[in-house]
C-alpha cells in the first residue's frame, strides 16, 4: 500500500459518514433517555450506577487505546505502523470523559458510600473536594499529555493545506516547515508520549484507588491501582483491534494494515489477557491465603456469595478462559471478523467486571444482580458517544486513518 493522502477533503461529509454520525447520535440519545428515565424513576441510584460503570469503562478504553501509540513510540517499536493513527484517534473521547467525570458530582449522594460512612480518619483523603480536585487534575494532566502527543503527531502527518473547521485551521497554522522544526516536533512528540505513559500509570492507579477501591472504604489491596491500569490497557487494545478490523473490512481489506499488524496486536492483546488474569489471580491468592477477615469479606462477597458468584464466574470465563483458548490459535488473530467478535465479548466482560467490583458496594444485600435494561441502554449510549468522538476525530483529521482507505467512515 503506498501512502496516499486521503482522497476526500477534511470536513466534508459523504453519505456513509453522515449515516455513521446519525447512528452514533441515535445510540447516544437512547442512552441519555434511558439514563434520565432511570433518574426520574423509583431507583435513581441504579441509573447513576450505570452511568458510573460506563464512565469508568469507556474512559479506560480511550486511555488504554491511546497508550498503545504513546508506548510504541516511546520504545521505538516500529511494528505499530498504521495502527498508531487509529490508536491516537481515541483521544477524541477525552473531553467527553472529563465532562462525565464532573457530572459524577451531581450524583454524588447515590454514588459514593464514603460520603455517608464513618471513615475513622480517612476523611482527609476521601472527601469530595480533595478527591475531585486531585482526580480532576490527574485527568487533565493525562488528557493534556495525550492531546499534546496527538497534536505533535498530527503536525507530522498533515500535508494538505486546505483547512476546514476551527480545530484543523489552528493545527494547519503550526505545521513544521524546515527540517529542524520537524526534528523539534519529533522530540516533543517523544516527550509528550513518555509523559503520557508515566501519567497513565500514576493517574489510572489513583483512579483505581479513589473511584473503585474506595467504594468499600475499609478494604485495601496495594495492587488495585496497577490492576486498574492493566485492565484499561487490555480493553483499550481490544477496542483498537475492533476499530482496525472495522476500518480494514470497510475498505474491503485494502488498507495498509497488513496481516502482520493484526497478528502482532493480537499477540499483544493475548499477552494482556494473561497479564490481567495474572493480576486478578495475584490479588485473589494473597487475600485467600492470608484469610484475614478485613480483606476476605470483599472477595467472599464477590466470588462465593450469590448472586455475585455467578457474575464472577461469567467474568472469569469471558475475560480469560475463552480469549485464552481462542487466541492460542495463530490464524484467528488475522481474521478481522473473529477478532471483532472476541474483543467485543471481552469488553462486555470487563463491563460486567466493573459491575462485579462496584455492584456489591452500591447495592447492599442484593438478592439478584442489579443488571437490567437501563444498564444495557446506558452502555449503548456510551458506545454511541465513543463512536461520535471517533467519527468526529476522523472527520477532522483523516490523516489518522491508515493509508489506502478512501473515506473517513
Amino acid at each position: 500500500m503506498n501512502a496516499t493522502t486521503p482522497s476526500i477533503q477534511p470536513g466534508s461529509l459523504p453519505g456513509s459518514q453522515r449515516s455513521l454520525f446519525t447512528l452514533a447520535a441515535v445510540l447516544a440519545a437512547v442512552g441519555v433517555a434511558a439514563f434520565v428515565t432511570g433518574l426520574l424513576g423509583p431507583q435513581p441510584q441504579r441509573a447513576w450506577q450505570a452511568f458510573f460503570i460506563n464512565f469508568l469503562l469507556w474512559s479506560a478504553i480511550a486511555q488504554g487505546a491511546v497508550l498503545f501509540a504513546a508506548l510504541t513510540h516511546t520504545v521505538k517499536a516500529r511494528w505499530a505502523g498504521p495502527l498508531s493513527g487509529l490508536s491516537q484517534a481515541f483521544a477524541g473521547f477525552f473531553p467527553l470523559s472529563l465532562i462525565c467525570f464532573l457530572a459524577l458530582l451531581i450524583g454524588r449522594d447515590h454514588l459514593f458510600p464514603w460520603l455517608h460512612e464513618d471513615l475513622h480518619g480517612k476523611e482527609i483523603w476521601l472527601n469530595l473536594p480533595f478527591l475531585f480536585s486531585r482526580d480532576g487534575i490527574g485527568f487533565l494532566a493525562l488528557y493534556g499529555f495525550g492531546w499534546a502527543f496527538l497534536s505533535q503527531d498530527l503536525k507530522l502527518r498533515i500535508k494538505t493545506t486546505a483547512p476546514a473547521g476551527g480545530l484543523r485551521r489552528w493545527m494547519a497554522g503550526r505545521l513544521p516547515q524546515t527540517e529542524a522544526e520537524i526534528e523539534r516536533v519529533r522530540r516533543r512528540k517523544t516527550l509528550w508520549g513518555g509523559l503520557y505513559c508515566f501519567a497513565f500509570a500514576l493517574v489510572l492507579s489513583l483512579i483505581g484507588f479513589d473511584l473503585v477501591m474506595s467504594m468499600d472504604p475499609h478494604w485495601i489491596s496495594t495492587l488495585f491501582g496497577a490492576y486498574h491500569f492493566v485492565k484499561a490497557f487490555y480493553v483499550g487494545l481490544g477496542a483498537l483491534i475492533i476499530l482496525a478490523a472495522i476500518v480494514h473490512l470497510h475498505q474491503n481489506r485494502r488498507t495498509a494494515i497488513a496481516d502482520a499488524h493484526f497478528h502482532d496486536i493480537g499477540k499483544l492483546f493475548f499477552a494482556f489477557c494473561l497479564l490481567w488474569a495474572d493480576f486478578f489471580y495475584v490479588q485473589l491468592t494473597v487475600i485467600w491465603y492470608g484469610n484475614i477477615p478485613e480483606e476476605t469479606s470483599y472477595v467472599i462477597l464477590r466470588t462465593v456469595t450469590p448472586p455475585w458468584s455467578t457474575l464472577a464466574w461469567i467474568v472469569f470465563i469471558v475475560c480469560f478462559i475463552i480469549p485464552f483458548i481462542v487466541l492460542i490459535n495463530r490464524r484467528v488473530k488475522t481474521m478481522p471478523g473473529a477478532m471483532i467478535a472476541l474483543c467485543s465479548m471481552v469488553i462486555l466482560g470487563i463491563w460486567l467486571e466493573h459491575l462485579l467490583l462496584l455492584g456489591p458496594a452500591l447495592n447492599h444485600a442484593a438478592a439478584e444482580l442489579p443488571l437490567g435494561v437501563t444498564d444495557g441502554l446506558v452502555f449503548i449510549g456510551f458506545m454511541g458517544l465513543m463512536v461520535l468522538a471517533l467519527a468526529y476525530t476522523f472527520k477532522t483529521f483523516p490523516e489518522l486513518l491508515p493509508p489506502g482507505s478512501e473515506a473517513a467512515r
Binding site: G121, K122, L202, T222, A226, D278, V282, T285, V286
Partner: protein, 434 residues
Amino acid sequence: MTNLTFAQIDQTVLNTLERPRPRYWLFVALMLCGVLLGAAAWTYQIFTGIGVGGQNIPVAWGTYLINFVFWVGIAHSGTLISAILHLFRAGWRNPIARAAETMTVFAVCCAGLFPFIHLGRVWQVYYMLPIPTQRLLWPNFLSPLMFDVVAISTYLTVSSLFWYTGLVPDLAVVRDRSTGLRYKIFRVLSLGWTGTHHQWLNYSRGYLFFAALATPLVISVHSVVSWDFALALVPGWHTTIFAPYFVAGAIHSGLAMVLTLMIPLRRIFRYEAIITLNVLENVAKTMVLTGLIVGLAYGTEYFIAWYSHNAVEWESFRWRALGEYAYGLYFMIICNVLLPSLFLFKKVRRSIPWLFALSLVVNFGMWWERFVIIVGGVAHDFAPHAWGFYAPRLVEYCVMVGSFSLFFFLFLLFCKHLPSVSMTEMKETAHHAG
C-alpha cells in the same frame, strides 16, 4: 554492528576462546578461593547447626533469604533479554543474549543453594521431595515453600535447556574450527548439528516456543518467590502488590548485573563492534522503566499503609523510615529509583563509567531492598515485646562471599571455554541489516 561480515563475527568470538593468559587463571583461582571459603563456612554450619548464623527469633530469615531472592532476581533479567525480547523482536538483544542467558543459569544455581544452606540439617530436604516417607506422609503443596521448590526447579531446568538449545549451533561453529581434543569435545556437545534446512526449520520453531514458555515462567517464578513473604501475615509482607513488584525489581537488578558483566567483558574481549554502546544504552533505558515501576511500588505501599488506618501496618512502615534500620530504606530509594533516573539523560546513558557505576549502585540498592523487606518485616511486626534486631555473623558473610565467588567463578570459566556471544544470532542480525 551492521557492517560486520560473518567471518568477522566468527573470528571476533572465536578469538576469545584462545588460550587464556596467566592473569585469567589468577582471577579464576581467586574466585575458587572464595567458593572454598563459602563451602568451608557451610560445612562448619552443617556440623555445628544453623544457630551459627545471625538469624534467630524474631528475625528467622536473614542473609540466606536475602541472597536467595537476590540471585533469583538476577536470573530473571537474563530470561527477559533472551526470551521476552526475542518475542518482541528487539534486535538489540542479540549481542548480549548468550551472556545474559548464561548469567541466568548460574544465578539460579547460586540461588538454589540457599534453601539448602538455610535448612541447616541439609538432609531434611528429603521431606520436600515428592516421595512418601515411611508414614506415607507427602510434602504439603499448600505451602509457599513447596511452591518455591517446584518453581525454582522448573526455572533451573527450563533455563538450562533453553541455554543449551541456544548454544548448539554455536557449538557446531567451534567444532568446525577446532582440532584435537577440543574438536572431539565439541563434536559430542554440538549433537552433530550441521545446519541443514530441516534442522533449522524445527530449531526456529522450537526456539520460539522456548521463548514463549520462558516468558510466563519468569513472571510466575518471581511471583512465587514473593509469595514466600506475601502469603504470610507479617505487616509489610502481606500485601497484594508483591508479585509484580518483585518481578519488576528482579528485572531491575538483573539488568544492572548485565551491565556489570558486559562492560568489562566487551573491553577484555574486544567486543566493542558487537556489543555496541547502543545495546548498553537500551539496557539503561529499560532500567529507567523498571526503576520507575519499583518507585511506584514503594510509593503505593506507603500510601496504602497510611490509607488502611491499620495501626500495625502503619507502625511497620513508620519504623521502616525512622527506625534502627532506616538507612536501608534510604539506600533502597536513592540507589534503585533516584540515581537510575539519571539514565533519562542521554549523556549518562552513553558514558561507560556512568553505566558501570550506576549498575553497581543498583545492585547494592536492590540487595538492601531485600534486606529492608525481609529483615524489616519480621523485626518489627505485631507485638512490641517481640520486636528485635538482626545482624549477620561471620558464617553468613563467608557464605555470601562464597555465593558471589561461585557466580563469577562459573562465569569466568564460561567466558573462555564457550562462545560468550551468540555468533548465529549476530550473523542473523548482520544478514537482515545488510
